[in-house]
Structure formats: C-alpha cells, structure tokens
Amino acid sequence: MLSKNFVEYAILLLFKDRNDHLFSFLIFSFIVFILSAVLFISDSLQYDLTQSIKSQPEIVVENTRAGRAYQMHDGFIYDISQITGVSSVEGIVDGYHYFAQKRLWFHIIGDATLAKDEMIIGQGVQKAMAELYYEDEFNFFTEERMIRLKINKRAPKGTNIISNDAIFLHPNTARAVLGMEMDEYSKLYVSVPNPNEVGNVSLKIVEIYPSAKATTQEDAMSAVRHLYYYKGGIFMILYVIALVSFFILLKNQISLVYGEKKKEIAILRSLGFCIKDIIALKFIQNTVVSLSAYLLGVAVAYLYVFVFNAPYLRNIFLGNTLENSITFTPVVDLNLLFLIFLFGVIPFLAFVILPAWKIAISDMSEAVKS
C-alpha cells in the first residue's frame, strides 16, 4: 500500500519535470480529443439516423428504373395493400430540387399537414436562401412554371441531421416542384404489425414488382451502421498513425532525458527506493499525466462536438455543399471511451514504466558516481 508521503513526493517530482511531461500531456490530449470527437460525431449521427428509421414504418418501398429511383402510382399502393400481413400503405412524396443559383440540392419532403402555398425549411436551407434575400418567400423554378411559396417557419435548430437540408411542402406542391404527376409517389411506407411477417412481405413486394426495392427497418439500420463504421474506420487508421507518431515522439523525448532520468533513478535507489518503489513512482506520475490528458481530451471533444457543433470536422461527415447548422444530439458511448482509455493510457504507462524498470534493475554504482 502506497503511503500518502510517497504519493505526494511522486507528484512533487512530476512537477519538477513539468516541462518534459507537458509535451507528452498536450500530444496525448490532442490524440484523445481527435478520436473522441470523431466517435461523438459518428455516434450522434448514428443515433439520429437510427431514431429517424425507427419512426418510419416497417418497410419502405422505392421503385427503380435504369438503376435510379423512379416514381410509383396508385396501383402500387393497391397491390401491396392486398398482401397478407400488410395493415396499411402510405404514399410519400420525396425528392431533390436543384437550387441553381447556389448550386445546391434541397431535400423536398411532402407533408399533408401544410397548406398548399406554404413550407417549412431546415436551418441549412434557410441560410442558403437568406444569402439570396429569400426571407419570407421562395420561388421554385420548374420546367413549366415558377412556384412562389411562403416560408411558413423554420425547422428548429438541432432537430436533427434530417431536417438541415429539408423543405417540407404540401404533397401536391411537392409533386409540382419535383415534376411528378398527381397520382405519383416517390416512396411507399408499408406497415406490417407482425415483426415475423416483415421479411415475407418484403419478398412478396419484390415478387410483384421486380424493379422495386423493399427496405426493411433492419436493412436500413445496418446500412447506417455500416456507413458510420466505415467512416469511423478511416479515423481509426488516422488515430493509429497519430498514436505511432506519438510513440516515436515520446521515445525521442525519453532518449533525450534518458541520462538525467537514469541519474535520478540511481539517486532514489541510493536513498532506499526499491525497484517496486521506482515503478510505483513512475506509475503514479504517468497515471496523473495520462489520465488528466485523457479527461481533458474527452471533455474538450465533448464541448467541441456538442456545444460548438464540431466546426470543420462536421463537414467531413455531413458534406459541405450546404452549410450544416445542425446540433449534434449528445450521445456518449462509454464502452468506446473505455476503449480509448485502454488503448491510450495503458500503452502510455507501459511505454514509460518499462524503461524506468530497466534502469532501476541495472547496477546503480556507476550511475551515482557519474
């Protein structure tokens, strides 16, 4: 059991060499910050997308032609509603409108609760429109005509990732903007109350309409998970590179002060510190450095992502064609944070303690004479 005096003296020696430790502390904090920020962003996006998928019905049907999404008519709704196990089929109008003046794509979503001449816009859309002085009204230019609509209200900042580039319109207005016929739909939401029937129903839909794509909630969830694991993977590689760089820097730093450290360990040994005490001393010192650097890195990453909305980094995830003014939902995966701790703090401690142990077990007589 380490005494209070021992711990206090270890901290005293730590502060004596604070400049050496500060270098490691800052690099370590930065690496933890980068990794934590990436994990916070990807977890938050995964959470929002997963919540969005959960709010959708069990199956989403899209038609394809020449490999691209293609609209469906009322006949699809009738045929699918006849499949055993299906409780309801709802046609959805959804598509993208090209805003040529800003070279941006807006996501048009049909919403039957809105009047035909009004719309709700996301924060990102609002900013893009405001730059061209569209404050209260907006003109949609289609092949046939110009459609002028009132900007009814803005989707609250921080609703989620979905609403940032979205414009919600009455379905018929949305059809007009997207150039669709009045009985056409972009997607069908198919409700299947029995979860065991979802797979069968989706197969039957594809049997009736071979060109249709029936995506179950489970398929959509795994696609989201795959998407963000993929992005997370890239950052994991970056992290490993950063960590290797960190070890090289740390090794250099240790090499620079190796002689002085050896002398210090020899002095302590001559005063009665045993090998176990030297290891405990280095363990305490480097635990203080790595743990405080880890906590600082995580705390700064939390503030950066969830308070300041991850400037610069969010565009890597969300794309930067439309300014992303979303607020990340605070989601903290403790398992992943523990993983960062495990792969950061433990190697850090080992990297410093092993050389200290190696010095401590060597013959001290020459070191104290020098």
Partner: protein, 225 residues
C-alpha cells in the same frame, strides 16, 4: 561483534568476457561500531566499488558482507533497499542532489518512504539541516547553491533517516579548503553521535585527524596490509 564484517569479498566485472576484471579481490575487513575508517588509494583501486557493495548498491561476485551479523550480500532487492533506507547514509563526490527541487525537498526524499506525519517529517528535516548547517538555505533550489552548500545539503539528506552507517565517496574532492574543513567539523559531529563512518578518499586532509580511527590502504582491488 563487528558492526561491519567483510569476508572473502570479490567483485568481478564482465564475467566470462575477454575484458573481465576484478575490481575487488578477496577483501577481508572488520569495522567496529562508532569507528571512522578511511579507505585510501589511487583512482581505480576499488574504494568506490567497496562502498557501493557496503551500501547494497551492487552485488558482490562472491563473499559476504555482514552488517550487525546479517549478510546483506545476498538480500533480494526489496530487503537490501530497506536496509539501505534504514541503516545507510550515502554522501557522494558529485553530491547527487535532485535538481529542480529545493534543499528542503531534497532532504525530504528518504522520508517519502515512511509513514511519518507532516510534523514528524519536518522535525527530522530540521534536525538534519541543523547538523549540516544548511537550514538558512532550505527554500533555495539546489541548482543555485555553491559546492559547499550542495555538499551540506547532501549530508543533511544522508543523515535525515538517522542511519547507523555513513558511507562517503570522495566527499571533499569537489570542495575548496574552507568547505573541506566544514566537512571535517560535521565528521566530528558524526563521531559524537556514534555513527560508523567509512570514507573513500585520497585527500591528505584526513591523514592527521584525531577523529579517524583507522586508515586502510587499497591498491588494484586489494587491501594493502
């Protein structure tokens, strides 16, 4: 019973290698309690090696070192460190202070291994500083001290645990005459406190001192009788 009894002590460096050599050869020596013994000899005669073996800083190749009848030559690290902590005070030629710390913090170092309270530690450090006449510099960083002051700080640290044995390796080699005489004064205090002191030196200053009990000559790793 002798305080320290060295029997058939050998120290071989680089064993089984072409450059193997004996730093100490068949040393037999007894030192009584409260004795002050000088180890004399030229550089490379084995004085410092003998001191480091006496203090348990390194292990002999063969032979025994009995301190209070306990053989310290074969103790495991944890026990030889505890022995060093409790019974030995080292004074080195190069002082071996922890740079960046104050005089007080340097003297405190051996007490970090104890469970003493703040006041008891302060009392011990104060006594040690008083003995070494360095209390007026207690808050000063050791880097800013003169050679003599550094030596006195090292002495205070060596005695803070009130060890029975003090081992000094060339304690006056880096000191001017005035500070060397100051060391002699402290040496007399050790005598008064009944410490057993072994000093490795080739300084002639120690030759005629009344407080010295014995002078042992060393040459090429052997005692010269």
């Amino acid at each position: 019973m002798s305080k320290i009894a060295i029997q058939n002590l050998n120290k071989l460096y680089n064993p089984n290698k072409p450059n193997a050599f004996y730093a100490l050869k068949n040393i037999n020596l007894s030192i009584e309690e409260s004795e002050i013994v000088i180890l004399k000899g030229v550089s490379g005669s084995g004085k410092s090696t003998l001191l480091s073996l006496l203090g348990g800083l390194s292990k002999p190749s063969s032979g025994e070192i009995l301190v209070d009848a306990h053989n310290i030559a074969k103790l495991p690290d944890i026990m030889s460190s505890a022995f060093r902590h409790q019974k030995i005070g080292f004074i080195f030629q190069s002082f071996n202070l922890l740079e960046g710390l104050s005089v007080y913090q340097n003297i405190l170092a051996p007490l970090a291994l104890t469970k003493l309270g703040k006041e008891a530690m302060h009392e011990k450090v104060s006594l040690a500083m008083e003995l070494a006449n360095i209390e007026h510099k207690k808050d000063q960083k050791v880097g800013s001290l003169s050679g003599g002051e550094r030596q006195r700080c090292a002495i205070a640290r060596a005695v803070v645990m009130e060890p029975e044995i003090i081992l000094a390796d060339e304690p006056t080699a880096n000191l001017d005459k005035e500070n060397s005489l100051m060391f002699i004064k402290i040496l007399k205090k050790f005598k008064a406190l009944h410490k057993t002191v072994v000093i490795a030196t080739h300084d002639t200053l120690f030759d005629e001192l009344s407080c010295i009990n014995r002078c042992v000559q060393m040459r090429d790793g052997e005692l010269v009788l």
